[in-house]
């Protein structure tokens, strides 16, 4: 499957940043061990973001290097080694929670690119391309929605994660619907020659 429905800002770097601050958040509740941090991270994120123990330790080492956490000197290296947050770490966490992620410029979105490319290609029906993606996305949404059916299993954190996924996928479907309608109208109207600056010059697209 060569389809990437997640925009480029959802990168591993972004994930690593979230893990770093999620660990700080957990430590702000009190001192914890590495293994405990991993378990609590998974529980708090609705168990949909697995984290390997190596990632936890690498992240903790970096946090310690940056002075945001301190390890318990008395304890041994390994899963029982304890960590606590520093004042600097608490300040960093507080600032991070209130800093909006970078939504200021449009991400380089593979699906948008596919549709734009299809537009100019001879022998390619762009509506058919749009429909292929729409169906795939709706099938994915059906799977997510199914997770909601069993309300007993549906705790608050998990509900929030599922909602976020559904709204993200829904926004892509809505863009496809709008694109479809716009293309249909454009086909029945004479082309408009743009006199304004080109889109690429007006928008700074993140790479």
């Amino acid at each position: 499957m060569y389809t990437q429905y997640y925009p480029q800002h959802d990168t591993e770097r972004g994930d690593a940043m979230s893990v770093r601050h999620a660990l700080l958040a957990l430590l702000s509740e009190g001192p914890k061990y590495g293994l405990q941090l991993r378990e609590e991270f998974e529980a708090r994120t609705g168990e949909v973001w697995p984290l390997n123990v190596g990632q936890v330790y690498t992240t903790l080492q970096r946090l310690e290097r940056d002075g945001l956490v301190e390890s318990d000197d008395a304890s041994e290296e390994g899963p029982q080694k304890g960590f606590h947050i520093t004042q600097e770490g608490a300040d960093e966490l507080s600032q991070w929670l209130r800093t909006p992620p970078d939504f200021s410029s449009p991400p380089r979105d593979e699906l948008v690119i596919k549709v734009l490319v299809a537009l100019g290609l001879p022998g390619v029906d762009v509506h058919e391309v749009v429909q292929v993606h729409r169906r795939y996305l709706v099938e994915l949404m059906q799977q997510w929605t199914r997770l909601k059916e069993d309300e007993a299993e549906f705790d608050l954190t998990f509900a929030l994660v599922v909602d976020a996924e559904l709204f993200r996928l829904d926004s892509v479907v809505r863009w496809l619907d709008t694109a479809d309608g716009r293309l249909k109208r454009a086909a029945s109207e004479p082309p408009v020659v743009s006199k304004g600056p080109r889109l690429a010059r007006r928008l700074v697209v993140r790479r």
Binding site: Y6, V48, L137, V138, Q142, T145, L169, D170
Partner: protein, 244 residues
């Protein structure tokens, strides 16, 4: 077996050069206990498809069968009885009668079908109770919230062993939490054996369905394949889910 079946159903308005096709050659089969969503933009023919499926409008071509009986072969009276007993409708704007309380609104189709007021009210009350609306039974529509009004209209649509539920944008102007409650209720009816069709432009509503049919310019252009179990999402290593 399919409870509702549309075979090559078409509907056009006007004649000659002014002829407009609302739907063309639509095939649709809905089995008991399943929820099918028909998704498409405004003007794609969704509402026409629903009114034809519900015998409120005659197709200009093709055939509609409900519970194995062809609507074309039915008398006007037979169709009216089918609408009273078998089919429940849910509309975008709820369509509750303002002068009747919630329980009276729900009981109305039963009374029109010849049950006594007392019996009809008892059945209606049970339907409201099941949907968590017992304490709203004696309220008038203008004393209910939007979400409650739509729940009452669903109670009215499923009361008295109706077996086909047809809903046109059932979440209307409701927010997404109330929209979700509406879809849960429709799904609940399906679990009890009701066949349901929901037409909507909203992918989040459509995603509650067992199958989503895509309508464009009056034609069925595509449909989803039955989704695998939701667990697949969490186990999948591809980027289609959150696990990577």
């Amino acid at each position: 077996m399919s409870f509702l079946e549309l075979r090559r159903v078409s509907k056009s308005y006007g004649e000659g050069p002014a002829e407009v096709h609302a739907i063309r050659d639509v095939d649709l089969a809905v089995a008991c206990g399943t929820l099918v969503a028909v998704m498409g933009p405004s003007g794609s023919g969704k509402s026409t498809l629903l009114t034809i499926a519900g015998s409120l409008e005659e197709p200009t071509g093709g055939e509609v069968a409900i519970d194995g009986a062809s609507l074309q072969a039915m008398s006007r009276n037979d169709k009216a009885r089918l609408r009273r007993r078998t089919i429940g409708y849910v509309f975008q704007d709820f369509n509750l009668l303002a002068g009747l309380t919630a329980v009276e609104n729900v009981a109305l189709p039963l009374e029109l079908d010849g049950r006594t007021g007392k019996k009809a009210q008892a059945v209606a009350m049970a339907a409201l109770e099941e949907l968590g609306l017992a304490d709203r039974a004696t309220h008038y529509p203008d004393q209910l919230s939007g979400g409650e009004r739509q729940r009452v209209s669903i109670a009215r649509a499923v009361v008295g062993e109706r077996r086909l539920l047809l809903a046109d944008e059932p979440s209307g102007a409701l927010d997404s939490t109330n929209g979700e409650a509406v879809m849960r209720m429709i799904l609940g009816a399906c679990k009890q054996g009701v066949a349901a069709v929901v037409v909507t432009h909203d992918a989040q509503l459509a995603s509650w369905a067992d199958r989503v049919v895509f309508l464009r310019d009056g034609r069925v252009v595509d449909q989803t394949v039955p989704p695998p179990s939701p667990e697949a999402l969490l186990e999948e290593s591809s980027h289609s889910g959150p696990r990577r």
